[in-house]
């Protein structure tokens, strides 16, 4: 539950109407009633359905693709390939490295080659079986380390490195000389599959004027608009993109995947002049969309006997699969966070985003943070063990505090609640006492308590231009409609924007509603990622709500015959100094009768981040979220199974806009992190995914859930509205290192590769026991 004391303290210092309150979400009623609001619920009656022909080998030349039987199959209406693309055969996120349809070559098992459309999806599926493909296999490579070897097969013309990024601070060689001890370690993380419960889906309607309307399950309408326009050779304004209610996203629906889906559907739609729909099957979704990058991270740290860190050197290798997607940006974030939230005078980080012939890796909640912190926080515990210092004490000795410098020499400002997060989390989990108790446990079930801490640079930082536009208008029925291209897909963040608007205008929250994200009336606000909605979108909301509020006061002033600055507003009524008043409804009616516009827009652009491109020294993010998570586990030493009993998750969120929504985000992210720690792994064999279904890819079920205590700490940041910080992504970052550290505390085994499956754990434990017996 929420640390009510901290919230109360803040709330009392600033009396707030609705921000900081746990109000209901606008979309809840439709969802509990099962209303038809998701993409495949609203496909037009006469639509065609697509099925995709995909490669089943990882790397090969396409010698021959014979679609003749498929074309002739009764009921097949259209078959599309790269030949049918009027514009450019491209569907990308960042680098121009990926086609919509493969032409002469495939680079991963599952790459789209063609699509078949029929009014009956079963017929399209049967026709896919009739496609005959001849492959000329090419040598392939399936790990970033192999891909970097001198004779490795080249997956793209420019070589296998999509991005190399560096951090250079001080001089690590000097730092190692000053150290009393040097500790090295290598850490590995898997492909984690996002599993949005609604697989990718979209449909395209061809309009009579030659334009198209796209409706889809997406995060970023404008990215889709640009992508589809390029494929169809249309102007962007001729491509309307509407986000339907989206059943979970977590990353893959923000980049090129919706362009894949809608691009294929659009080709069929414009050719046949009929609506065309494509819904990925779960298997297709798991193979075809982007996942979390596997990383191999080697760490070398110099430390004094006292525990003070002197030097931290990291090499990170990310497997981005056959196409880069947003891999370069993921690697940037991992690179900048590689040392964890500590003060280290000498830092050397090299991060590589590497192509392989595995399936694609790209955006997934956390975006490099989970991998970087898994390595850093596991390594801190390894250091603590070697120095025989309590892991908590070691951390407190080295954490970032206001006035200290990060790994990129950015000064930590007063909005840093890291220490309080750590103190509160460890107090709540009874850190010292429990760890002592657990040492003396007998039996086959052993308990342990572990900790991990983090920082998370907010918003896009170095990843791109950070701006958002929010529109507001009051309709003739007095509903204040908020419109933005920042999308809702479960986060609740857009509902938070309504709270911010209500707070700014001093009006009840139920006056406000959220319209669908539609390029027809919402301006580009960049992708809905990086937890930007509340931070960047929130600032834009404050601005536009302020403008609309001013407009209403001016109209009220005219009606009350007093100067605008003498108008007071509260609870939907506008008063002048002389007891006269007009209601909100009166003001709106007056505006309509006089043709006065009740429509406003505001764009907030975050200041640019300035830093040295060679050394990455400078301001890389505008503010940071901080967190500390503890995990209490019970390890069954006979089966290797781990039960997480309790987790305490403390986050400095700046300002909690909606506490219950915030808890929901934290709890959900924590469980995704728990899955990452213990059971989630997309397994490739020669590039082919062997577990592309939810029976063999394990996400946590309700019976796997620990007790979770959420602690909100508020140290307002400088960027977000009311000091709010990003909280969408951070919760998924720390569970893995916290759990792995707890396992080490329980059984004295350091798991350096996640997931810590029962197999890995038990075998590691047996090896450790064998070594101990021999020694």
């Amino acid at each position: 539950m929420i640390d009510k004391a901290a919230v109360k303290e803040f709330a009392q210092s600033q009396e707030m109407l609705v921000v900081g309150k746990s109000v209901g979400r606008v979309d809840s009623l439709d969802k509990v009633l099962g209303k038809p609001i998701y993409t495949m619920d609203i496909v037009p009656e006469n639509a065609l359905y697509l099925k995709v022909v995909r490669s089943n080998v990882a790397h090969a030349l396409l010698k021959r693709v014979d679609l003749s039987e498929a074309r002739k199959y009764p009921g097949v209406v259209a078959v599309v390939t790269a030949q049918d693309i009027p514009g450019i055969n491209e569907s990308t996120a960042l680098l121009p490295d990926k086609p919509l349809f493969a032409t002469d070559r495939v680079r991963f098992a599952g790459e789209p080659i063609a699509a078949i459309a029929s009014y009956d999806p079963s017929i399209a599926e049967e026709a896919v079986d009739l496609v005959k493909i001849e492959y000329d296999p090419l040598p392939s490579v399936f790990s970033p380390i192999d891909a970097l070897k001198p004779n490795a097969p080249k997956i793209h013309e420019k070589g296998n490195v999509a991005k190399h990024l560096k951090v250079r601070k001080g001089n690590v060689e000097e730092g190692f000389k000053q150290a009393d001890l040097i500790v090295e370690g290598t850490y590995k993380t898997p492909f984690q599959e996002p599993v949005p419960l609604e697989p990718e889906a979209g449909f395209v309607v061809p309009e009579p004027d030659g334009s198209v309307t796209c409706v889809a399950s997406i995060q970023s309408p404008y990215h889709v608009q640009t992508g589809i326009a390029k494929i169809l050779s249309l102007r962007p304004e001729q491509v309307r993109v509407i986000q339907a209610t989206t059943g979970g996203a977590f990353g893959p629906k923000s980049d090129e995947i919706p362009v894949d889906v809608l691009g294929m559907a659009a080709l069929v739609a414009v050719r046949t002049r009929k609506p065309a729909a494509l819904a990925y099957t779960r298997e297709e979704s798991m193979i075809g969309h982007t996942k979390r990058h596997p990383f191999v991270i080697s760490v070398k740290v110099g430390v004094k006997k006292s525990g003070k860190l002197t030097a931290w050197e990291t090499k990170l290798f990310a497997d981005t699969g056959a196409y880069a997607s947003l891999g370069p940006l993921v690697v940037i974030r991992a690179c900048f966070h590689a040392t964890g939230p500590y003060v280290i005078p000498n830092v050397k980080t090299d991060a590589y985003c590497v192509y392989t012939n595995n399936t694609m890796a790209g955006s997934f909640r956390g975006f490099g943070g989970p991998q970087a912190h898994f390595a850093a926080e596991s390594h801190m515990d390894a250091i603590a063990k070697k120095l025989d210092i309590d892991p908590l004490d070691l951390r407190l000795m080295n954490i970032l505090r206001p006035g200290t410098l990060t790994a990129t020499s950015q000064i930590v400002d007063e909005g840093c609640g890291l220490e309080e997060c750590i103190t509160k989390a460890t107090t709540e989990s009874d850190w010292y006492k429990k760890r002592r108790q657990f040492q003396s446990m007998n039996g086959t079930k052993k308990r342990g308590l572990g900790i991990a801490i983090m920082y998370h640079g907010n918003s896009l930082g170095p990843e791109g231009n950070d701006f958002a536009t929010v529109h507001m208008q009051i309709d003739s029925e007095c509903k204040i409609r908020l419109r933005t291209a920042l999308t809702e897909y479960g986060t609740g963040a857009p509902s938070g924007l309504l709270q911010i608007a209500a707070e700014t205008m001093h009006l009840p929250i139920d006056y406000f509603t959220l319209d669908p994200s539609d390029t027809e009336y919402c301006t580009d606000s960049g992708p809905t990622v990086a937890s930007r909605t509340i931070t960047i979108g929130g600032r834009a909301t404050q601005m536009v709500a302020g403008k609309l509020d001013q407009r209403l006061r001016e109209i009220a002033a005219e009606m009350l015959e007093c100067p605008a600055d003498e108008v007071e507003s509260s609870e939907g009524t506008f008063h002048s100094k002389s007891a006269k008043s007009v209601s909100f409804r009166d003001v709106v009616a007056h505006a309509y009768s006089r043709g006065i516009s009740l429509k406003e827009s505001s764009t907030f652009t975050a200041p640019k981040c300035e830093y040295d491109p060679e050394t990455s020294q400078g301001t890389v993010y505008l503010q940071y979220t901080y967190g500390a998570v503890t995990a209490e586990v019970e390890v069954d030493t006979e089966t290797g199974r781990v039960q997480v009993l309790k987790m305490v998750a403390a986050y400095d969120v700046g300002k909690a806009i909606n506490p219950i929504s915030l808890e929901g985000q934290i709890e959900g992210g924590t469980i995704q992190g728990l899955g990452y720690a213990l059971m989630e792994e997309m397994i490739h064999k020669n590039g082919v995914v062997v577990n592309p279904n939810l029976g063999d890819y394990y996400v946590p079920t309700s019976l796997d859930i620990p007790e979770i205590k959420t602690i909100i700490v508020e140290y307002p940041g400088r960027l977000g509205p009311f000091g709010a910080k990003a909280i969408g992504e951070p919760p998924v970052v720390l569970p893995a290192p916290a759990i792995v550290n707890a396992i080490d505390n329980a059984i004295g085994v350091r798991i350096t590769e996640i997931p810590a499956t029962p197999d890995r754990l038990l075998i590691n434990l047996r090896r450790t026991q064998e070594v101990q017996e021999k020694g």
Partner: protein, 294 residues
């Protein structure tokens, strides 16, 4: 899903006649928990399915002539709700607790489970230690065959194309005997087993093992089987930590397991031994009311 035809028989005779005259390309379907999964994963491409859900006469659990008899179309949840499956047969509840989730338990049929004969099968090890039999009918007659002989390989049974499995039965548990089931997978629900284990234990006085039957989802090969060598070692010995330890040593040799993407051979062996001990321990606890094993 690709298209196919479905034959929906009104009664058993129609069904058996159909099976007799259509012996290829035909798949039987009860509640689809296994078959539809396989169709969607393109492991099976049926031309005709035969729907069994209309044959209500095969949904029963009864006690007759010293035997427990279960109709093949009985679902797992119907089985454990039956008063015939009282506390002596709690082993079935142990299976149900770890058997998918509530909807799977409501849908999966006993017959469907036996005939799917997959190596992550939970019910088969229990039926093996109960020395169960299956009854099979065709238009030409009936036969009875032991479950152990019925399951011949991974997803291969002795069911002929014109036959329907109609019932499974086993002798009632004798006094001083009980069964237990253990399963380990990656998580706590919707679990595919790395290893599962069923144990039948009958203790005489002085905690002597009168009889013990042990089955795993894999012993030597890819099907559920009995671990007969380990059974032999335990028979007639007093059950204590030492004899159990000897049994585990035999089990280690007897089990010939394999690695796949879900788990390694080494891990499976470790866990098989661990859950074997737990299953025996639980049986012993139940029978003696005391903890005789650590």
């Amino acid at each position: 899903m690709r298209r196919f035809d479905m034959f929906v028989p009104e009664n058993l005779v129609d069904l058996l006649q159909y099976l007799d005259s259509h012996q290829t390309g035909v798949h039987l379907i009860a509640n689809g928990t296994d078959l539809i999964n396989r169709i969607q994963r393109k492991q099976v491409t049926p031309k005709v399915l035969v729907d069994l859900t209309g044959l209500a006469e095969f949904r029963y659990v009864k006690r007759e002539g010293g035997m427990i008899k279960i109709g093949a179309l009985t679902t797992i949840s119907e089985l454990i709700a039956s008063p015939v499956i009282e506390s002596r047969y709690d082993v079935f509840r142990e299976v149900a607790m770890k058997f998918g989730g509530p909807s799977i338990v409501n849908m999966a049929t006993i017959g469907g489970n036996i005939c799917s004969a997959s190596s992550s099968e939970d019910l088969l090890p229990v039926l093996l230690v109960l020395d169960a039999e299956v009854h099979v009918r065709s238009i030409h007659g009936e036969r009875t065959i032991r479950v152990e002989d019925f399951v011949k390989g991974k997803r291969v049974t002795d069911l002929k194309p014109n036959e329907l499995l109609v019932e499974t039965s086993f002798g009632e548990l004798e006094p001083h005997s009980t069964c237990s089931f253990e399963k380990v997978g990656m998580r706590n629900s919707l679990i595919i087993a790395f290893v599962n284990c069923a144990v039948y234990l009958k203790l005489a006085e002085n905690k002597l093992c009168d009889e013990v039957r042990i089955a795993f989802n894999r012993v030597n090969g890819k099907i559920p089987q009995r671990a007969r060598q380990t059974e032999k070692i335990m028979k007639g010995k007093k059950l204590n930590d030492q004899s159990l330890s000897d049994a585990v040593a035999t089990l280690r040799d007897e089990l010939k397991l394999t690695s796949d993407f879900r788990a390694s051979e080494e891990y499976r062996l470790e866990v098989a031994c661990a859950i074997f001990k737990r299953a025996v321990g639980r049986c012993a606890d139940r029978l003696t009311g005391e903890k005789i094993l650590v």
